[in-house]
Symmetry: C2
Subunit: 127 residues, 2 copies
């Protein structure tokens, strides 16, 4: 994961002179927020650590909150984004499905275009 994603706040800002064009984007599903900056970083951390608990800890988030976010995403997606296997030869674990990886990529793709939009529009601010 590129370090700028790691450090960027959910609010994307562009400074020009004394003014900044800022903004936020997210995707709503049937029951409110489906994907947003924090949720996508959580998915990436789950892929990295293979564990909701470790992913949550790395973000200073409670396990309960992380679990609820994953549940919210899984319920609203056509197919689950995160799957947990119990036991087995390798002791089970939590990982992203193909849909989960596609959701992460799709969100960053839009997010990147949004940053370009803010950069472009933020250069002409004068008041």
């Amino acid at each position: 994961m590129p370090s700028d994603k790691d450090l960027d706040p959910a609010d994307v800002a562009v400074r020009k002179g004394g003014y900044e064009l800022k903004g936020r984007i997210w995707i709503d599903g049937a029951n409110g927020t489906f994907l947003g900056y924090g949720r996508v970083v959580l998915l990436e951390r789950i892929a990295e650590f293979g564990s909701i608990s470790k992913a949550a800890k790395s973000m200073g988030m409670s396990y309960r909150h992380a679990w609820e976010l994953v549940d919210s995403m899984n319920r609203q997606a056509g197919r689950p984004l995160v799957e947990t296997s119990i036991g087995g030869k390798r002791g089970g674990g939590t990982k992203l499905t193909d849909s989960g990886r596609e959701a992460v990529e799709g969100f960053w793709d839009i997010y990147k275009k949004f940053k370009c939009f803010l950069t472009k529009e933020g250069t002409s601010l004068q008041f």
Copy 2:
């Protein structure tokens, strides 16, 4: 003022299938928020009513809050956006300056482009 501006919430949404790409933009100045959807509608109402009090009332906002928003915008802009004259032949009043009108136009210009961005990017959402 076009009716869609009047009715639109600050969150701009695009629905496609079961998902909506939503977003918000605003402009920060030296002391936090300088211009945003609500502030720009307030400026338009001040231009319409010639009065901060009447503009505030039309938005269900307290006079004190509206005054603070105007003060925040005037302090952060290079030149005041709103000016109040006291007395005189026509009894004074509050109106937008040229800078104020330009700020309103400039914000709606970016906002319109942002809506186009969300429409364009919101059509390909599939999860």
